[in-house]
Subunit: 598 residues, 2 copies
Amino acid sequence: MLMKMSSLFVRTLREDPVDAEVASHRLLVRAGYIRRAAPGIYTWLPLGLKVLAKVEQIVREEMDAIGGQEVHFPALLPKEPYEATGRWDEYGPNLFRLQDRKGADYLLAPTHEEMFTLLVKDLFSSYKDLPLALYQIQTKYRDEARPRAGLIRGREFIMKDAYSFDVDDAGLERSYELQRGAYQRIFDRLGLEHVIVRAMSGAMGGSRSEEFLHPTAIGEDTFVRSPGGYAANVEAVTTPAPAPVDFTDLPPAVVLDTPDSTTIDTLVEAANRLHPRSDRPWTAADTLKNVVLALVHPDGTREVVVVGLPGDREIDLKRLQAGVEPAEVEQAGEEDLKAHPELVKGYIGPAVLGPNGAPRDENGDGGALRYLLDPRVSPGTSWVTGADADGKHVFGLVAGRDFTADGTIEAAEVRAGDPAPDGSGPLELARGIEIGHIFALGRKYAAALDLKVLDQNGKAVVVTMGSYGIGVTRALAALAEANHDEHGLVWPMQVAPAHVHVLATGKGEEIFAAAERLAQGLEAAGMEVLYDDRPKVSAGVKFADAELLGVPLSVVVGKGLADGVVEVRQRRSGEREEIAPDLAVARLRELVDEALAG
Amino acid sequence: MLMKMSSLFVRTLREDPVDAEVASHRLLVRAGYIRRAAPGIYTWLPLGLKVLAKVEQIVREEMDAIGGQEVHFPALLPKEPYEATGRWDEYGPNLFRLQDRKGADYLLAPTHEEMFTLLVKDLFSSYKDLPLALYQIQTKYRDEARPRAGLIRGREFIMKDAYSFDVDDAGLERSYELQRGAYQRIFDRLGLEHVIVRAMSGAMGGSRSEEFLHPTAIGEDTFVRSPGGYAANVEAVTTPAPAPVDFTDLPPAVVLDTPDSTTIDTLVEAANRLHPRSDRPWTAADTLKNVVLALVHPDGTREVVVVGLPGDREIDLKRLQAGVEPAEVEQAGEEDLKAHPELVKGYIGPAVLGPNGAPRDENGDGGALRYLLDPRVSPGTSWVTGADADGKHVFGLVAGRDFTADGTIEAAEVRAGDPAPDGSGPLELARGIEIGHIFALGRKYAAALDLKVLDQNGKAVVVTMGSYGIGVTRALAALAEANHDEHGLVWPMQVAPAHVHVLATGKGEEIFAAAERLAQGLEAAGMEVLYDDRPKVSAGVKFADAELLGVPLSVVVGKGLADGVVEVRQRRSGEREEIAPDLAVARLRELVDEALAG
């Protein structure tokens, strides 16, 4: 059906929307593809819906190609299955919860592991039924604290979520690899650059997980790469633990006066001024910084904890968060400090923390605050740190000799140049948008919901699962992000709302007649056409709109017509060529086919 | 992609689900098309999703054909627009309401008039932009008090909702007729018998409204038809008001003893026994019954009202409900009666009701209960009715002379044989499922949300709108309801999950090889094929499953193969023919094309 600009439900905007921080958001709104309905919630206008349908279709074809079967689950779901796996609580405030008229609890599903598990349990019962791969393309909900960047972090969004079911670990491995391959083909077909990185499983659970990141400066995720091929989401980077150091010959620790040294900078300055050492100056890397934080557990309890890390590193709250899920991390407040008078601000040291502090009861309750250490603070390392008294630090405090902790935690920032954990060289940092995430879930959900099948020996075994998500609307935003210039969008042919944009520029009736004939001819030749038939709209406005809308090819039917030519323009390269109207259909068919062939 | 039963995510059930009252629900569950996730909330399995996609596609094509432009709105919406039109309250407990993490109010949309109105206001501003028709196929929510009959009355369901925007009444009339025509074509293409009936606009508002009903004994809606072509939903039937009767010569009313006559039956018996009249016996039709009811208004206030109607008619609560919307009708309880001691149970009469009762203040508040009359209780009609004293009725009480009311109401049941309001003959009653509903909304929403455009004279005028809905999932259920037999579903070709079901019955490898070859051949010829390749499953089970699943054509590749034949079966007619395997593809292509051509 020929789309005509005179009646198409679209209005382009010359001004950026005030709330738009990123190009995809700005341009998708300005070009009339989407409109905001509420924070993080968008309406799809006709052109946007066409692009969305094409993205969905590519995802669907590749899922079908690996034997995935499409189903469709409700968005409104009862609480019970999510309670059985603990996620009703673990999701915390990210879950939209509601009650029906009878007071029964429901949620708007952020992801459907539980429901797929229960459905397979309902239908299948034998190892012969497996492997099984199911998927859906469906609307999901997540009550983000800070919805932002348009479609990139929304509260109502479309995901493709797939789930695999296997009888054993080898089967899961095969299913995981099949999905991984399909994801690569999907993003390749979309023309979306992507890096596969190791990731944390987080609230999802499971043994192995990888993210597909689209590298872009506006990405919310930071990831690392090494020359040797290591790649990981920054949350998943592990710090190589230094080998233990023999501390038998180290001198005993001494407490020294360090007045007015409540920050790492002032401490280093005081140490060098008051207690210089002969061989080299003190640096921030010699200090052990103890940072007070609060964890809010899913049941609502608040726990104050202390994280110790080298003074030259900052805490990365997202890394810390990933390490303590499902609890949520917050900065500790004045109230938290008041409740713990043993914490002397600016002079907190290990002596009052964790196993070194007040003893706990037989259940491990009460006593000193939990104390977690950066892996670099390994046995035998020696530190300058707080002496738990105002104006005093302790020098030469040796880990493993003078203090211990409740455990280690990956909470320190990762820096460019840090060694890759697998020894493959120094890390470089980059930013990306998470467009896909695959999880080898294992048996967490199947065990919680009792999904078993009979194996070859007639024995009931718990099924092992994988879960595989693509943010469909987010991938569309990433495409807009990667395909635009200062004038507007530049869609790849395979997802463009139309293949060719025909512009009638000029006043003569013959121009409009020729343009319409051409548009019809293009459509008859199997192309999707947007025809700018607006009378009384200047050529300049039509050109600007065409560049903003971003259809890959356009044909200008204007004053050249008198000389027997129309102009074919390529949006991406800016290339222009004049051609006789009679040859235009064949030429455009050729250009469209070339672009679709990639 | 060839669907193989050995790996297809489906399990047929031999037993009916316990909660299934109607055939469509029973068979869609048994055949593995849908599964219940929660009351009124269903999951779509692969075969169900294929049928759903075909129904949606037919709807989409016909919407596009009348120039409808597809958009897609969120399901999760902010409260404010619905508050502006009053529907946040009017929907009462039927609306799923929730709050986000910041405490802002949201709803799961049951329909999107407000959002479409605001979007058009956002984009368009001139009469030149109109007429405009937009639609979406989208998931809707309604917290039904009694979800039932599977997909027929669900709480999460798919609707196609369309909206038209015009500058004047004539435009709305044209838009309405276009949609009406598209609806007829949609239901014709689906092969779904339908009757167009007048309907009430209800909470939707507007001047004109028609329902598309699919006639079926299990329908929840009752409708009427007359020989002269009148058709209406029973809620919309109006009672022809009798011409006023001259009451100047009527004798005065008298109060008579009627002990133990608290029901119409006992009253008629007592009247004939104690106060017989000479010309004919008293009947229930001579009595005026006053029924006490409670209205719960959207703001939560409860109002007790009395409805007076001829004693031979019962109250039809659905008709009454339609007349008092957005209030909800309830039976009056003991508390309601206690609060109004003037109501003498079994002897309630007009003397204490409405304008005849205690006077109201200048605002119309206080005083006697509101009193509403059936139109048959018209001026000059004479009645036997309660005298507001225990054991006493009044005889010969004349409407308009001895009592009046606050208004009339259509609350009495409609009976077969009642006259059509347009004089087109006696009514017959039937039942149906509402599969579509079209509303000439007029300016209610545009006025409430200030949607105006500049007309030809540059004057801002309020836009006039129409709203047009099809219950997509409900239409699918109606199709299943209309197309089944005792063995299972019998899909029409145009919505069937596959065109041909190939069954390999027997044990020989050559049978499976031939069946697979045939299935591939059918697919290569453009047909959609379901192939029952299950080894070790008996022919009987395969035949039963094929009948339950309801694919229109099947081919049995079995023992006949040795004699050079396969058997083609037509699900609906039961016709069978033997044919050489080499000719099967062409023959089936022919049968599929015939069926698709209708």
